[in-house]
Amino acid sequence: MDRRKFIKITGITLAGVTLGMGDSLFGKVYASPQNVKRWAMVIDIGVCLKNPECRDCVDACVLTHNIPDFNNRKDEVKWIWKARYGDVFHDSALELTKERLPSIPIPVLCNHCENPPCVKVCPTKATWKREDGIVMMDYHRCIGCRYCMAACPYGARSFNWREPRPYIKKINPDYPTRTKGVVEKCSLCEERIALNKLPACVEACKHKGMALVDTSAGRLDSYPSIKDRHIIARKTHLGTKPRVYYVL
């Protein structure tokens, strides 16, 4: 065993230990970024079911990432937003279960797929998947052909149909603003993760309904707080392997 491999295994074991120790999954970082092999997001729909009016995750993201508001659906830019459960999971319609569920708004965002179709179709490599699984965007290389938007099965990508800067309510100087003509999307707050911080949406969720986890460190159901619960993801039949998991 060489040195690197040893460090890697120790790292994973350490992360595993952290996992075993925690009694709750939500609202914590479970591994140090250096050791992470595969980030994923877990969203507790039960929490959203109890708080249908809550928009903390969306608002935090808008503030953190300088997302403009054009007050116009056509030109809309969104990284994380809330959509009805029945629309998010319309392919697996649960007509006879939980009466209220289909109408409940739940957060949707880029799934940071294991096999991202957007990355495959990009003609300039302006979008790519990092080793830790985060699907990234280079706003300076994107030519705005929008092929990635056509290829994304989740509608997670937005285009800057117009100059966004005048429509940003309060500019966060710590994060770049974008220009018209390029595509953007959720970055899983890679800039925060690099500083060992939680993504803005996860941190903002006062009901502790969201979590960032390293899926290479263990099975999802090994987390005590979701052990016996049903875990689903969007459009898994497409083989994109989405990494945003919803816990029912």
């Binding site: 659906r73 056509k74 030109d75 809309e76 830019v77 969104k78 959509a83 029945g86 629309d87 998010v88 319309h90 392919d91 949707v108 179709p117 495959k120 179709v121 990009c122 003609p123 300039t124 490599k125 302006a126 290389r141 994107c142 030519i143 705005g144 052909c145 929008r146 092929y147 938007m149 056509a150 290829a151 994304c152 099965p153 989740y154 509608g155 937005s158 285009f159 800057n160 149909w161 117009r162 100059e163 018209k180 003509g181 390029v182 595509v183 497409l238 083989g239 994109t240």
Partner: protein, 379 residues
């Protein structure tokens, strides 16, 4: 005023009209450059519209040149000798327009060279740029050399033959790659069909010859250059068969979609066939196709010049709708989140599109003017 004078005058009127349309399109494009693509009808959900629809249609027109090149060069079908160059120049103009339509659709056109600077062979768009530019060069080369030889009353140079032969599968490739842009996306069930490339080719081989046929008729009336009865009848035949195959492919598609009844497939078709405004366009397109097929097959009407000219116009309109509203736009409805977004092109978007067509026809007029002068001079 004698005939040549009159001819010259109508040519100038035509060129001025084209110039005005080009300028109006160009000024709208300048507005689009300043304001962004928000001035179009496209939006977050329907993120491709009129531009990409026209691109798709025109790649088909370009590919259809193979329908005159193939019989002439491979089967030595002499009747096409007079119009092969016209077919090739139509292809050149169509490719130019297609490329321009992609260009005006870009959000950051100044970065277009990134496609070459960061080549991404996994992207079909990369391959499309490659095959389209190759096809443009091939057709320019072949048409140019053929004309040059004709002018000097020499046989076409021997070295040209391999380029002619390559241009045949190359024509098929441009529309196949364009179909693959769509048919490889799991995200859009409406486009996700292996039948797409064959359908694209069938509709192209109907609409392309239809356009060439109309152009031949216009040329005959304006310059007196006659492509010949035999060539015209052959074009009508090709167009008829391709149209029927296209109708068949569409019905085959309907069977799989509705018999399997998988909601994510049927939903797009239901919207296309039942929801206005889309359904209005689609039914108009379908009826034009079916009527054209009928009149082109029926022995009492198919030899009538007015009938096949009318049918050509009908086929061009029908297939333009089929590949535009009926294909590109409907593919985005419903959205991945099950919403029903709407799309209609804006005035600037339409003017930019018309401007590109005008520019294409300006090139075509110059090419044809040049070719026909040589052809008439040499008899």
């Amino acid at each position: 005023m004698d005939k040549t004078q009159q001819e010259g005058r109508s040519l100038w009127v035509w060129l001025c009209l084209l110039l005005i349309l080009i300028l109006s399109g160009f000024s709208c494009y300048l507005i689009q450059l300043r304001e962004g693509l928000s001035i179009t009808g496209m939006g977050r959900d329907v993120s491709w519209g009129l531009y990409i629809a026209n691109f798709t249609f025109l790649v088909g027109v370009a590919a259809s040149a193979v329908m005159v090149v193939l019989p002439y060069y491979i089967h030595n079908y002499k009747a096409f000798g007079k119009i092969t160059v016209l077919g090739e120049f139509l292809a050149v103009s169509a490719v130019l327009m297609a490329i321009l339509f992609v260009f005006v659709d870009l959000g950051e056109p100044s970065r277009v060279l990134n496609i070459i600077l960061h080549p991404s062979p996994r992207s079909l768009l990369f391959w499309d740029v490659f095959v389209l530019s190759g096809y443009l060069i091939l057709n320019l080369l072949v048409a140019w050399q053929t004309l040059k030889a004709e002018e000097h009353s020499e046989p076409t140079p021997k070295w040209l033959k391999p380029f002619v032969l390559i241009s045949i599968p190359w024509a098929v490739s441009i529309h196949t790659v364009t179909a693959f842009i769509y048919s490889g996306l799991g995200a859009r069930p409406f486009w996700l069909t292996a039948l797409l490339a064959p359908r694209f080719l069938a509709s192209a081989f109907a609409s392309g010859p239809a356009m060439l046929l109309l152009l031949c008729m216009i040329i005959k009336r304006t310059t007196g250059f006659d492509a010949g009865r035999q060539a015209i009848e052959k074009l009508v035949q090709i167009m008829t068969y391709a149209l029927i195959i296209n109708i068949f492919f569409f019905l085959v598609e309907l069977f799989t979609v509705f018999y399997s009844a998988i909601p994510e497939h049927t939903e797009h078709f239901r919207i296309m066939l039942k929801e206005p405004p889309y359904a209005v366009y689609i039914w108009f397109s379908l009826i034009l196709s079916w009527l054209s097929a009928f009149f082109l097959l029926y022995s009492g009407t198919r030899k009538n010049e007015w009938v096949f000219m009318g049918a050509s116009i009908a086929i061009i309109i029908s297939i333009w709708i089929e590949k535009g509203v009926g294909f590109v736009v409907t593919g985005f409805i419903p959205s991945p989140l099950n919403e029903l977004p709407s799309y209609s092109p804006t005035i600037p978007e339409i003017l930019i599109s018309i401007g590109i067509y005008a520019l294409g026809f300006l090139f075509l007029t110059i090419f044809y003017r040049f070719s026909i002068k040589i052809k008439i001079k040499k008899g």
